[in-house]
Symmetry: D2
Subunit: 336 residues, 4 copies
């Protein structure tokens, strides 16, 4: 049993905790809390041990912590750190390296923090037995999954992707915009180089912007291919790739909202959709003068990286068979 501790219990951390608890080869040591909220109440309801970080208001709210973060570090083989940007990097130096404990950080950290950036179906082996690794961001994960499939089948000359990002997560009442489209005013954006930390040889330019929606990101991609493609083959390629789901206008899955409704209806925990959803009717191939593939995909920013964290735990603790790990993880999530 791999003993896993969770540091940071927000959008990603709480999902990884639940996912660890579902794996037959893993044991959740506990989760951290630095202040009281409904998150803590739910962790308690689920029977997770709660370890305090710093001075907390847990006791005054009726929660008796099971120790502090150091107690958790003593018991864990590996930590998944899902704290906000830059804290994961600091925690490696301050907490995990001195105690010689393995750790995974998230996509808010820079590649150089761990030198290993991970998407299971693209580069599982790069994380094998590593002490530190980074799960790339939700957007980068989404780009890597579909581009890796396309690259292996057709070869990619270059990619241009536009990322239409949700403005804030569903629970977040503080951030906007309420009624605006907000471009990322760097050109090209930083997401392109981030993809290359996983798909090392794919040339990619990206542009990004934010919109007043909370549900999912949506990517539009234009890919210049080395080999000719046809639309049906591309549909089949995506259908046969793991953690990619082909969705259809014909099923009335016409928007990010309907995809989320579908996930809720299927009984997914929290209504999550960790698969990258590609619209069948929005796959286009231009093959007379050019050799271009166009497609659109929806990325569930809250959950697509969660199975990646699980596989990365296995890789870092020495489980050699990446495909097997992906299968085990998928089964626990109900992913085909």
């Amino acid at each position: 049993m791999i003993k896993v501790g969770l540091v940071g219990y927000g959008t990603i951390g709480k999902r990884v905790a639940d996912a660890v608890a579902m794996q037959k080869d893993m044991k959740l040591i506990g989760v951290t809390a630095h202040s009281y909220s409904f998150n803590t109440e739910v962790a308690k309801q689920k029977g997770y041990r709660i370890f305090a970080v710093g001075e907390t208001d847990l006791k005054s709210n009726g929660i008796k912590p099971d120790g502090d973060i150091n107690n958790m570090l003593e018991e864990a083989d590996i930590i998944v750190d899902a704290t906000p940007k830059d804290i994961g990097r600091d925690n490696i130096e301050r907490l995990y390296r001195p105690k010689k404990i393995k750790a995974i950080v998230q996509g808010g950290e820079k590649h150089k923090t761990t030198s290993t950036s991970f998407v299971a179906q693209c580069n599982y082996n790069e994380a094998l037995n590593k002490d530190y690794a980074r799960i790339v961001s939700c957007n980068t994960t989404g780009l890597c999954r579909t581009l890796d499939a396309v690259n292996k089948r057709y070869g990619i000359t270059s990619v241009h992707a536009t990322m239409i990002r949700r403005g804030a997560d569903p629970w977040d009442i503080y951030h906007g915009p309420i009624n605006a489209i907000v471009p990322v005013l760097e050109m090209p954006s930083h997401h392109g180089p981030d993809v290359q930390t996983v798909l090392h040889n794919v040339e990619i330019f990206t542009t990004a912007l934010s919109v007043p929606s909370t549900l999912m990101h949506l990517h539009t991609l234009t890919v210049d291919l080395k080999k000719k493609a046809n639309m049906n083959d591309v549909v089949e390629l995506f259908k046969n790739s793991t953690r990619i789901r082909v969705v259809r206008n014909a099923e009335h899955l016409r928007s990010t909202a309907e995809i989320m409704e579908f996930a809720r209806d299927m009984g997914r925990l929290r209504g999550d959709m960790p698969e990258i959803c590609v619209w069948e009717e929005a796959i286009g191939v231009i093959s007379n003068t050019h050799n271009k593939l166009l497609y659109m995909q929806a990325v569930h920013q809250e959950s697509d990286v969660v199975p990646e964290n699980i596989d990365c735990i296995r890789a870092m603790t020495g489980f050699k068979d990446g495909e097997k790990s992906i299968q085990m993880t998928n089964k626990s999530f109900g992913i085909k």
Copy 2:
């Protein structure tokens, strides 16, 4: 086993179907489909029998129906009809009465359609052995639950409620407003009289408006009381009333978004919150010159009426113990 058929498989219908399937004393005969969509795919995944209504595109999309709606009516003891406004009324006359089958319609229908309007904890007995009954709307259900508790404890002189309604359901991409507040320009609004179909002697005036949000309705209430109240007693009253949940700013449940997140985290199916949520910190009592109770509540329009449908099935099929029915239903939903 009570044999239940579901006619209308949208926001409410699909939830009632799942709830019926969870009850130990009920059997879901099947659900209807009038056209193909992801709803049909999910029904099939769940193993529900699908009965066609009219000419459908099911077969051309690979779904073989298990018969048509008449086949379902032959097998069912009672129908829950969750079709859009006015269709339920027509279906009673056209389908259910000729075949002498009991039926429940939803809050889009008028009171006079069935002469029995139902909220389990308020008037379970009114539906006992009835052939037809109406589950009142999500807003009316929310008002009835908390006002009934207040009325029984303190007596109500009169109520003014303002209902801030979500503009559209989460999956609905067609309806707005995107950026406006839209008042219901009738004064008082029709919701007041609708409450009186359940709480017959409560005087109530209501005003309503719509806003660009999809998650929950929010009600603000001012109640003139007959007996003096104090805040702590009111908190206890609500805590001890079924299908009401007292939520707290202290837990960071500060908005409809965070309540929905809480329901997702708890592992509720679809992230539903069938309980009416009252904010502890927004309960106010003014008791010098007046005798007023002020409070705010959040109403999950997609799910609060679902347990009501289940209890109403039991009442109409002769199960006499309303409290027992509520307990059985609550247990299946994970409601305390």
Copy 3:
């Protein structure tokens, strides 16, 4: 000519500057800038003198300031301070009182800062020859205008108002909520006592919440009256009150969005609507057992306080005839 300086050049400040520049009896000395933005560019286009506050980036962006804030204070008879909350209070003590310069602050400041809270049509005389006064907030201004008319005509026993507030101003891309209804979790809210700083004898309870819209606030009011009212009289009362506009469903003015469109179409500067808009079809009188008036009004948070600032300048600098001042101001805004 009254010499007016503007400190704080945001949503309110820039509007008051333009309004001062339009008055025949006033001269705009200039406006302040603490950093470069499109606001500065527009001020320059309009020929306003720009006075720097602290170290600014104006020069590096090609704007040569006309001096610093102290230069402006030397030339001005009176300052309109439209800085964010608490800064106005500090500026009085730090800048205006030592230099014996009169000043108006805005509704973010507390009543006790100036002991004079102002809405022209309610209490013009209270500001006569005062050194410091406060223009109450947009919401309080809106409540005072219509309640004062009702109180003078019918007498008010008590008021309950629910304020549905826009989440952020139209230009503000940083604040949410994107998809939530957020109650103000104090009960009753602080807006009631604020009304009483202007309408000293009106008993009022208020509740408030925020929604994902940027355009206007919307208030629903229930007023217990001393004298009987009838609907037509109330419509006439509002039609004959200054800075109140009766709008109608019949004209397709069904929402805050359509009211804003109407203001744009009329050619109002910035599409502003400084009048409080009351919906004719949402005025209700309940006069059998009770003696209640119900109505709904829309409040343009960006502009309703702007004419108040102009009238307050006149009152504080000794112009005795409040009605005349209101007429002069209204004419410059195109308000009937």
Copy 4:
């Protein structure tokens, strides 16, 4: 004086009417109304003659029409038809052609309806003395303006544009989405061929989607160039092109919301921004292996086509100097 009649008095029609009224060489004969609303009240306030279309409710609402549409057609030299999709096409056949009156239709109509699709700075001469012409849609106009400049300077090999479209106009409370991103599920979208009705030789692929915002569309473009470009030259090119405005992050014009605020502050009628806004900081040139230009632009869907209508009126009525017409029109709008 060119006598212009306006048929259709909605978002575009009311703006073209005001613009015609501002031109020294044009006379507005009047506008049409098919039903009463605040639009009619504003037209009356502005002193425009109102011509009824069909049976209307104008009289019962106190508006006496100045005749019917046929009376207007008799007086006008040319009609600007701004009716909804397909009605303009029908009006040509049913009303304008039989009466031999020239007419302009809008971008909802197909190219073949008039065989002349118009953007003044691209192809003014194509409309010279024509009887019928089409002003292309707001999105197509935006693409044509900047791409034409780029094409003339560098030559275009091919373009990929992603259009992030506002979900509904600011006044429209009926259409969503409230909280979703909705892709146009055709690939490539129809906007590409529409650009080619004006820029006949530019190869362009487009993808499109809608988001919950009301203010402006935003386009991201990737252009493969024939000649090498550098960033500063591109900035200068756009600065020196008419009806294109270079906006800057440095001015805090970081979003569609701030651009709209800027237009309001400048005192533009209705806060309109008919210029296409290109962000200086989002212009990127990739010129090692490729020869690509990337940029982002904001398009004000309510107003960018309005000056095009004015120029097209001049072209169709025989005014030969396109540049002069553009200057005259720009001056009346306050466009540099």
